[in-house]
């Protein structure tokens, strides 16, 4: 597991240096926390899961004065009130109650400077935990550009924690993090924070605090409103939506499939080249048919997965993903789901694995689970050859609507439709029974439009690729090794069973031949 690996890293470095410091990174969603995490750690990151739950555990490390500091990137939270799994994780880690995660020595709190008011609640509850905390007011560039002002020193006095204006996307002001970590623990001022009795109290406290800190919010981004006018327009909105979604789908299919095929051919070729050099038949079969085939079957998924995440990343970072969720919410609601489930379910038509990985944008745990459970009903691209085979074997070609639609095409369409309907039906059953979520309403934040940066998209792709090859890859590899062992062993008359020359039972139909070849080579080929 990646987590235990990085734990080992920490332990070994502990031998050399006296103390290893752990810093927790916390902030609300859309505050640019992940961008900051990527800035600080670059590629020294690892992703795992917290024990027993679906929340991702991300951590990384960076150097402060030659000392390695571990950064734990906590999930984005709006408050420390334990509503969602994400918030429970954040609180547990900060309190040092999370198994397998060291107690953080310091906290970096990332807030969006352009929209401070409702984040001050989170700020005081984090600072009140008593860990040395540095408050980073992110997006300082946008904040200043749009005429926002604040006195960080005054805010620091009010909060009882150092405050700095930074820009994670531009990388400005970040040296403050290093300085803070160097001298953390030196200053031990304890500021009296207000005891919050209710929402209105904290609210008036927040506005008082803002006033004292000289906070003047920036003007709203004019172009977000201007862009929203067509993007959420009654007629243009859905049209743009269809074009965007269609383009994503087309590229994942149209570009991903040939790339996958090309990669598979290349890997097969390499395997065959290598096979010549191995004389021992058992070893050759183990390496080639067992391990290499397993590795290739993991790798050929990568082009589609990375393409899909490239587009999801572009959509999410630009701010369009939230708009797409807003537009599709009405439709998704009929299945008992919400708009955030649309993109993951659409991705499932390409491949269920990245689709399930993409459901992390759905905050509501039950909705996320329902979406994960129905995603495999969508007809993924790997199922297409199987459908084609079964249809050509069982359905005779007959025109249904003149020359326009044949019986085979109709059967294929029906299979797609059937999968979709079963998914909708299952979602309805799940959402009205075990996964009912009544009390938490659907709330969607529409972030401002931003230009995605290549750095953040690139790191995300790397991260998703790594998660896939490690977590999914190991399962696929083990299964394909098991299948290899089952087909190779036991020996018959001192030789492994040869599936290709084995006599076929019953009729020697083309279907039978295709199937036996499929069973022996793992690939479907046409027999026409």
């Amino acid at each position: 597991m990646p987590t235990s690996m990085s734990m080992q890293e920490v332990r070994t470095s502990q031998g050399k240096q006296k103390r290893v410091r752990t810093v927790a990174l916390i902030g609300p969603p859309n505050s640019g926390k992940s961008t900051l995490f990527n800035r600080l750690t670059r590629l020294r990151q690892s992703v795992g899961n917290y024990p027993g739950i679906t929340v991702e555990h991300r951590s990384g490390s960076f150097l402060v004065q030659g000392e390695q500091v571990r950064v734990i990137d906590l999930p984005g939270v709006y408050s420390l009130a334990p509503f969602s799994e994400d918030e429970c994780v954040a609180v547990d880690v900060l309190r040092g109650r999370m198994e397998g995660t060291p107690v953080p020595d310091a906290v970096l709190l990332v807030l969006d400077a352009t929209n401070l008011t409702r984040q001050l609640d989170l700020a005081i509850s984090v600072i009140a935990l008593g860990l040395p905390t540095l408050v980073l007011l992110n997006m300082a560039d946008l904040f200043a550009k749009r005429g926002g002002t604040i006195d960080p020193l005054k805010l620091a006095q009010e909060l009882g924690a150092p405050v700095a204006l930074v820009s994670a996307t531009q990388g400005t002001g970040l040296d403050v993090v290093e300085r803070f970590l160097e001298q953390k623990g030196d200053e031990k001022e304890i500021t009296r924070l207000p005891v919050l009795n209710g929402p209105s109290h904290s609210r008036s406290w927040a506005s008082q605090l803002e006033r004292r800190a000289g906070y003047r919010p920036p003007l709203p981004a004019g172009w977000t409103r201007r862009l929203d006018a067509p993007v959420l327009h009654r007629i243009w909105g859905p049209l743009i939506f269809i074009v965007v979604v269609g383009a994503v789908f087309q590229s994942v299919f149209g570009l991903g499939q040939p790339l996958s095929n090309a990669l598979q051919n290349l890997l097969n070729l390499l395997g065959q080249k290598a096979a010549v050099m191995i004389a021992q038949p058992f070893l050759r079969s183990l390496l080639l048919d067992g391990i290499w085939k397993g590795v290739s079957s993991v790798l050929i998924f990568l082009p589609q997965i990375l393409l899909l995440f490239l587009f999801i990343g572009l959509l999410e970072d630009s701010g369009y993903l939230a708009r797409a969720a807003l537009i599709s919410d009405r439709t998704m609601r009929s299945a008992g789901l919400n708009g955030k489930a649309f993109i993951p379910l659409l991705s499932a038509y390409a491949c269920a694995v990245p689709a399930i990985m993409a459901t992390r944008t759905i905050e509501n745990k039950r909705d996320r689970l329902a979406t994960i459970l129905i995603a495999p009903f969508m007809t993924c691209s790997a199922r297409l050859p199987v459908y084609t085979l079964l249809i050509s074997a069982f359905i005779p070609e007959r025109p249904v609507i003149g020359p326009l639609l044949g019986s085979r095409a109709l059967a294929m369409l029906s299979l797609y439709l059937l999968g979709f309907l079963v998914a909708i039906g299952t979602a309805k059953i799940l959402k009205s029974s075990v996964l009912k979520s009544a009390s938490i309403p659907f709330v969607l934040e529409l972030p401002e439009y931003r230009l995605p940066t290549w750095q953040s998209i690139g790191l995300r792709l790397l991260d998703r690729g790594r998660v896939f090859t490690r977590q999914v890859g190991t399962v696929i590899l083990v299964v394909s090794l098991a299948i290899w062992a089952l087909t190779y062993l036991p020996f018959q008359h001192g030789h492994p069973h040869n599936w290709n020359t084995a006599p076929l039972p019953a009729s020697d139909s083309s279907l039978n031949r295709s199937f036996s070849r499929w069973a022996s080579t793992g690939r479907l080929e046409w027999d026409c």
């Binding site: 408050s79 929209n115 008011t117 409702r118 929402p199 919410d329 309403p441 934040e445």
Partner: protein, 92 residues
Amino acid sequence: MGVTTTPVRSVLADLEPGQAAVIEEIALPRETQQFLLRFGFSPGVEITVSRRAPFGDPTAYRIDRAEIALRAETARHIFVVPSQSSSEKETA
């Protein structure tokens, strides 16, 4: 729906895009109230209707300088007092 003239207490879901109001009461379970609070929904806060989604629901609201969308099924339980001055400002 009765617009502008005599705004006493109406429901957030009934406001038209461009209208502003002050939240008076959130008639939802305590748990839901606290959940909404994190997005800034609490009594005394000013809220403006930004725009409706293309299919009429959910609706995006401007609250605390952020755009937050709610479904009508939620906004129906949020009672507001429309603030005339700013709603006139918006339409003017």
